[in-house]
């Protein structure tokens, strides 16, 4: 399982970022009755941040080299 020596630290950083994004107080910033594209802000935020996180995970883990 070779790979960039930075892969591990990057994933840990992503984990920490995810913990921040999906918890109080960051979550509270989006927990308000505002709409985006006709959808509730919180709904859009959760799925967008979730998808972003997964995309970054895929990018970090699958990229060939630095």
């Amino acid at each position: 399982m070779q790979g960039s020596i930075l892969r591990g630290p990057r994933l840990v950083a992503l984990f920490l970022a995810g913990c921040l994004l999906f918890n109080y107080p960051v979550l509270a910033l989006f927990d308000r009755p505002v709409e985006l594209f006709g959808l509730p802000l919180l709904f859009v935020y959760l799925f967008a941040a979730w998808f972003g996180l997964i995309a970054l995970m895929a990018w970090i883990i699958e990229r060939r080299r630095d």
Binding site: M1, G8, N23, L27, P40, L42, F43
Partner: protein, 910 residues
């Protein structure tokens, strides 16, 4: 819709299909063409995480708390980011120690303790039973809806109904039979089930497709897209809050604790451990699973909120259970085919979970609960039946049936009090109790068996008290006052407000107290005494799993054993045939022809133990091996010594490897240098023979002519004069040859003297042309100069450059025919100053164009060897290269040759 028969046929056909897929995958595995050795299949098998909880329950949860169903999937997503460390380490240590279940893992980590393995098994079984009842409830509910439509409610369970009239009971039996067929057809030493994994991966696809189909139908069939549903929900006060806010059902504390709970469950649920760790074929598959599994979770959740809102809008006030919306919405819209697909999807979610979970649990029950007891009570290892593999399978089959019946029992006792997610969360909180012992065991050497025992027991007891008992109380099986007033009316001990803690939901409350008790007991008790020898040894195997290249367990055994007895022992549990094959393979690897003559050393004992560990768990394996082998106990000091020795040996071997690599590199360099020296030696020999040959030719002619002159006084004077002229010419040639040889040797050895001055190349070329003018006039060759107005000065050795020019010009004069034409051009190019000496002689053949720059190689072939030493061009080339330029020739045979050299403007002689 035609009812029961059609449903039964479709469901049985689907289960048959799964079975066929499993059978096919097993066959492929036997042929060494595994279908599950694929990262995508691995990621999909992990999606067994999504059960009917996800399929039906998420919508029910969302109906109560809006986006509050999401932490169950965000937790695993976050944990997968750490999967690179955590899961990889679990996989490595599990493979190195032939671990087959989570109880085995914990038992093995803390010194192969049977007691610990048993406790972990009890926790897993008791904890997961509610989860299995959830699947039964969901399947029987979905069946009920399809059978009893249009009364689309989860059927209220009639407690008075005897179990044999209850369809759920038969569902449990069918699932048990199905699982037995799936997972326990034969005994495998590694406890891997390729067929099961293939079927589970297929089921993951089916449930995603079915749920998405229902979601698309509700979102775009019943309504006009996401925006439309959310806009309509805005009009209803309660739904507006639900759709767009966390505050609807729960606070941030619940959100956090559910995320944590799901993250831990993702790692420590027996079925997740089974698919992610035990069934892992290749650890590099983890790479894709790290992002693909979270992506699966995201996809299966996209439509949850639209379905929830759609259902709430449509069934407003009709009392339809939100847990059933996924199915009741298509049924209410008379979409029979879709309803059937959704039913199959739900069945997939349930069967996948039940199969993997009960197989994992049955392995634990057999290896860590029943086997130790049987071994203790009956001395099974010594005598009795010859082949116990049949008994092992029977125990597992019995365990599967018992676990499903327990699930059914829980469903009867407590299933009605909770929504689907509520039941599942109770199980999540139970398996979260494994976290301290597991994570601590992977990263902390100091954890001991006693600590793990204390932590697990404390956490399990608190969990039972704060979650399991209340679930019974809510179903009326325990008095309700147990919840409201506490046991014996002790208010402080109220199970859901323990010590007066309020403000948390029941799951967060239980999680807080149980993890506090668990972690606290684990750490405090572990710190009471240092680890024993065995614990320290095992700790090393797990904590350093990513560093160890080879298990050091072998080194930690000392004693006497008999190879025949060992083989018989393994044969009792695996079957004599398998044991014979395994021992023969071992003997072959160690270069011994007959397994009977194997030396029963620590290596062989370790081999036998690890074979048994696959079948009956590490703790039991250690116990039965101990019954035939006399082990001499090692003291902690000895263990540490061996471990240190092992690590020192590793260090030495790494050092050795590094040294040998260096040595190899040095050998390479030496070989290259030697080859170069031999080449140089050969060149020197060639040179010497060429020089002597060149010297001999003029000497021979001088000597011959001199002898004629001496011996024959009657030679006429004109003839004598001619001879003298030849002798003088040959002598001059000799002198020139010797001078040039010396010159070349000096240049090549770097001993030549260079007098660098600023020179004007234009003037130098003109001067050289003038000096050779007579030569050209003698041969009637036209020499023309094409020189620019002025050129920048150069730093070089004037005499040496003149030597080059004279060489090139005299060569041109030599090779151009009478009446020929020679042109000398000087030009400024980007590379530097360039001089061309072009003739229109007969040219040089392509194969000779490089040769003429070698010593004593002259152009024109051997037959008409022209005058000259054959050293002029090599010397010229050395001179030009000394000033950083280059000298080359371009020629078309028959059309003349052009010798050119370029000197860089900045040329400075050294």
């Amino acid at each position: 819709m035609t009812l029961a028969p059609l449903l039964a046929v479709v469901a049985l056909l689907y289960l048959g299909l799964l079975f066929a897929v499993a059978w096919w995958a097993d066959r492929r595995a036997d042929q060494q063409r595994s279908v599950i050795a694929n990262p995508t299949v691995y990621a999909l098998s992990m999606a067994v995480y999504c059960t009917t909880w996800t399929f039906y329950g998420s919508v029910g949860r969302a109906a109560g708390s809006g986006v509050g169903f999401l932490p169950i999937y965000l937790g695993p997503t976050l944990v997968m980011a750490l999967g690179w460390f955590l899961l990889l380490k679990m996989i490595r240590s599990a493979k190195a120690n032939r671990i087959t279940s989570i109880a085995d893992f914990i038992a093995s980590r803390y010194g192969k303790s049977q007691l610990l393995g048993g406790l972990a098994t009890v926790i897993a079984v008791v904890g997961v039973v509610p989860y299995i009842s959830l699947q039964l409830k969901a399947v029987s509910g979905s069946l009920g809806i399809l059978l009893q439509q249009p009364a689309a409610l989860l059927p209220r369970h009639d407690a008075a109904q005897p179990f044999f009239a209850d369809s759920t009971f038969y569902i449990a039996l069918i699932l048990a039979a199905f699982t037995v067929l799936f997972g326990t057809r034969h005994l495998d030493a590694t406890e891997r089930h390729e067929g099961m994994v293939a079927a589970v991966a297929l089921e993951s696809v089916v449930k995603l497709v079915a749920f998405s189909a229902a979601g698309l139908f509700v979102t775009y069939g019943l309504y006009d897209g996401f925006g439309d549903i959310f806009q309509r929900a805005q009009a209803v006060e309660r739904l507006r809050v639900l759709a767009g806010s966390l505050a609807a059902g729960q606070g941030y504390a619940t959100w956090f604790s559910l995320t944590l709970l799901a993250a831990l469950a993702m790692l420590f649920l027996p079925r997740q451990f089974q698919v992610a760790v035990v069934e892992n074929v290749n650890e590099s598959h983890l790479k894709r699973a790290i992002w693909l599994f979270p992506l699966y979770l995201l996809l299966i959740n996209v439509f949850v909120l639209p379905i929830t809102l759609g259902g709430l809008l449509r069934f407003s006030g009709q009392g339809v259970d939100a847990d059933t919306f996924v199915l009741t919405l298509p049924v209410a819209a008379h979409q029979d085919a879709l309803a059937l697909l959704v039913f199959i999807g739900g069945l997939s979610a349930a069967t996948g979970m039940v199969i993997v979970e009960t197989i994992a649990l049955s392995t634990m029950v057999c290896n860590d609960l029943v086997m130790p007891l049987l071994l203790r009570w009956t001395g099974l290892a010594q005598g009795g039946a010859r082949d116990l593999s049949g008994l092992l399978l029977a125990i597992r089959r019995g365990a599967i049936l018992a676990i499903l019946l327990l699930g059914y029992l829980y469903f009867r006792l407590a299933g009605e009090a909770y929504a689907l997610v509520g039941i599942g969360l109770i199980s999540f909180a139970a398996v979260a109790q494994f976290a301290p012992a597991m994570i601590g065991g992977l990263y902390w050497r100091g954890g001991t068996r006693d600590g793990a025992l204390a932590g697990l027991s404390a956490g399990f007891l608190v969990w039972g008290y704060t979650l399991l008992l209340p679930s019974f109380a809510k179903s009326g099986w325990l008095p309700a006052s147990f919840l409201t007033d506490g046991p014996f009316a002790l208010g402080l001990l109220r199970p859901q407000q323990l010590f007066g803690l309020t403000g948390l939901d029941e799951i967060s409350h239980s999680l807080f107290w149980s993890l506090c008790a668990n972690l606290g007991a684990y750490v405090v008790v572990s710190l009471r005494r240092p680890p024993t020898a065995v614990e320290a040894g095992q700790a090393r195997l797990f904590v350093d799993a990513l560093k160890l290249s080879r298990p050091v367990g072998v080194a930690l055994w000392r004693g006497r054993a008999d190879s025949g007895e060992l083989q018989t022992l393994v044969g009792r549990f695996l079957g004599p045939e398998r044991a014979r094959a395994a021992f023969a393979g071992y003997a072959r690897r160690h270069g011994v022809a007959d397994p009977a003559t194997l030396e029963a050393d620590a290596d062989l004992v370790h081999f036998a133990e690890s074979q048994l560990a696959g079948a009956i768990g590490s703790a039991s394996a250690r116990a039965v091996v101990a019954s035939v082998a006399q082990e001499e106990p090692l003291s902690p000091a000895e263990v540490m010594e061996i471990l240190d020795e092992a690590s020192q040996l590793r260090r030495y071997s790494r050092e050795l490897e590094r040294k040998s690599q260096q040595l190899e590199a040095a050998t390479h360099q030496l070989t290259a240098a030697n080859a170069r020296l031999q080449e140089l030696d050969r060149l020197k020999d060639d040179f010497m023979s060429s020089v002597t040959h060149e010297l001999r030719t003029p000497l021979t002619s001088i000597r011959a002519l001199s002898e004629i002159l001496r011996d024959d006084p009657d030679i006429p004077p004109p003839e004598r004069q001619r001879f003298h002229t030849i002798i003088v010419g040959e002598t001059e040639r000799l002198t020139r040859l010797v001078n040039q040889t010396l010159d070349l040797a000096k240049i090549e050895s770097g001993n030549a003297e260079w007098h660098t001055t600023e020179i004007d190349l234009k003037q130098l070329v003109a001067q050289s042309a003038e000096a050779t003018g007579q030569l050209f006039r003698d041969k009637e060759v036209a020499l023309s100069l094409e020189l620019p107005e002025r050129v920048p000065p150069l730093l070089a050795d004037r005499d040496r450059l003149i030597q080059v020019m004279l060489n090139l010009l005299s060569n041109a004069a030599k090779f151009v025919g009478r009446g020929g034409k020679v042109t000398v051009r000087l030009a400024e190019t980007p590379e530097g100053l360039r001089v061309d000496v072009a003739d229109n002689g007969k040219g040089i053949a392509p194969e000779e164009q490089q040769l003429i720059f070698e010593r004593f190689r002259q152009g024109g072939g051997m037959t008409d060897k022209p005058a000259g030493t054959g050293l002029g061009l090599p010397i010229s080339r050395h001179i030009i290269e000394h000033f950083g330029g280059r000298l080359w020739v371009e020629s078309v045979p028959g059309a003349g040759a052009t010798f050119s050299f370029v000197l860089p403007r900045a040329a400075v002689g050294q």
